[in-house]
Symmetry: C2
Subunit: 321 residues, 2 copies
Amino acid sequence: MNKTLIVGADVGGTSVKYALVDAAGRQFRQGEIPTDPEDPAGTIERLAATVQDDLPGERRIAGVGLACAGIVSPQTGLLGRSPNLPGWENSDLAGAIRAAFGAVHQTVANDVNAALYGEYRFGAGRGCQHLVMIALGTGVGGGVLVDGTLLTGFADGAGEIGHMVLELDGAPCPCGNRGCLEAYCGSVGIVRRARELARGDGATDRWSAMVDARGDDLTTRDCYDLAVERDPTALALFAEVGRRLGQAVSSLVNVIAPDRLIVGGGVAQAGDLVLGPCREMVAAHVMSSAGQNTPVVLAELGPFAAAMGASALVTESGATP
Amino acid sequence: MNKTLIVGADVGGTSVKYALVDAAGRQFRQGEIPTDPEDPAGTIERLAATVQDDLPGERRIAGVGLACAGIVSPQTGLLGRSPNLPGWENSDLAGAIRAAFGAVHQTVANDVNAALYGEYRFGAGRGCQHLVMIALGTGVGGGVLVDGTLLTGFADGAGEIGHMVLELDGAPCPCGNRGCLEAYCGSVGIVRRARELARGDGATDRWSAMVDARGDDLTTRDCYDLAVERDPTALALFAEVGRRLGQAVSSLVNVIAPDRLIVGGGVAQAGDLVLGPCREMVAAHVMSSAGQNTPVVLAELGPFAAAMGASALVTESGATP
C-alpha cells in the first residue's frame, strides 16, 4: 500500500500543475507541463508520461484527481462549458484519464471546488465543516462546502459566486450581464474601474498619469503598487472592491453560515486593503451575531491548491495510496 | 407501532398550529391554540393537553416536532434570538417538550426550515434533492436544503435569505440596515414603497387615493387588489418586487443550484405578478444554462406547512409512529 502515490492535477488555460502525493497527503513531488488548448486527451497522456518519469522505482500510481476550469460533472466525468478552455469543452475527462493512466481510481472536479477542498484538508479551512471560497482572478470563481462535501447542485451549476447580482443595471461584467460580483472584483472589472476613475474629476494626478502611461497594459498590480504608496485614488479603488466583496460575502454568510470564508486568487494579494472593508460589511450586514464575526481569511496553499485538493478528492473517493 | 401518532407544531407570534400525523405522513387531525407570548413552557403544556384530548382511544404520541420563528438549534433544543417571540428568547424548547409530553422522540427547527422540509416531503419540493425556500411575509425568511438535509450552518445562522444585500445604501429594512431583500419584498417594505409611489409624480390618481384612504391600515392586499384591476402603478410596484426577488433568486441559483426554488408566504399570493419578473431575471442572470430554467414555484402546503414539516423531521430523527 505505501508503495503507491496519488496524482492531483489542475488544468489551466496555459499549464497543468500537478502534485504527487503520498498516503498522508504529503507532496512527494510537484511540477507543471503546458496545456494543449485543443487536445485534452494528448495533454493528459503527456501528464501521465511526465508523472511516470518522476516516479521513484518502486512506486506506482493508485489514483488520479483532475481539476479543470469550467462546469465539470464528478458523476459523468465530463467537462461542459469552459470559458478558459474552449477547445476542451464537452470532452470526456474521465475517459482521457483511463486511456492515459489505465485502471486507476479517478475523480474530476471544478478547479475552484478542488482548490476549496485543498484548503479544507490542508490549508485555511482545516478543521471546518462548512466553507465558502471566492477566487478573485481575471474572473471570480467560487465554491461551497457543506458538512465536508463539495456542493455541486443541479446540473453541476453551483458555485458561480462571481455572478451573484450586486446591482441591477450595474457595472458591465465580462459575462455580458451587468452588476455581477465579477464586474466589481475580478481584475477585468477592477482595471475598467481604474480607467473610469482616471477619466473622472476626483482622481489624483499621479493616478491619471499612471493609467495613461500603462495604457492597454494596465493591471491590478499597477493599481496595487500605488495603493501601497497610499495614493488616495488607489486606496479608494481597493476600498470599493472590498465593499463589493463584502456585499457578496454578507449575503453568503446570511444564507450559508460557513465556519470561514476563504478568499484566494491574485486580487486577494491586496490583503487588508480589500479584506478590511469586506469584514466591516460582514459585521454590519450579517443577521446572526455569531456570523458577524465569521473569519474572512486568505487562502494558504497558493497555486497548487487545486492540484492538492484534487489528490485529496480521489483519495477519499476510494483510492488508498 | 401503528397505534402511535406524531405531533408536528408551528409556534407563531399569535397561535400554535399543530397537526397529528400517522406513519404514512397522513394528517390525522389539525388544529390551532393561542400562543402565550410570555410563557413557552405553559404554551407547550397546553399543546400537550389539547393534543391528548384529540387523541383517539388506542393511539399514543410517539414524537413531537416543534417549529419556531427565530434562531433555533436542533442540536441543543434551544431558541435564541426570535424577533416575533421576544418573550420566548433563550428558552429550552426541548426541555419544555419533555416536561409536557414525557419521554418522546422530539426535534426542534426554525419555522421556515420546517416549512421547507414539509414542502420537500409532501408539497412543492417532492422528489428534489436540493431546495431553496423564500417566505415572503411581514419579513422575509428562508431555508436551504442540500442533499435532503436542512442547512443550519455555523451557530445555526444559515437561511437568513431576507438579509441578502441587494443594494448598497438601498431601501431601509426593518432590521435597521439598508438594501436587504426584505426591504424590497417583505410586506413592510412593499407598503413603504407603495406610499413612496403615491407621493411621487408618476402614480395614478386611483393609486394615490387608495393609499390616502387606507392610511396607516394600508396592506399589500390593498395594493394587490388594484394590481388585479390592472392599475399601472400597482402593476409597476409588483413588477419591482418581482425584479428584486429575481435578483436574490438569481444569486441563490448561481451559488447553490437548487432543483427548485419555492416561494411561500402571503406576498407570494400575488403569483405571476411577482414570479413572472422574477423568472425573467433568473433566465437572464444565471450562468448555468440548466440553471436558467430552474423552476421558481409557489409553496403548496399552506399555513400548516411548518407543522407538517416538523412532524416529518421528528419521524426521520427516529420516531416511528
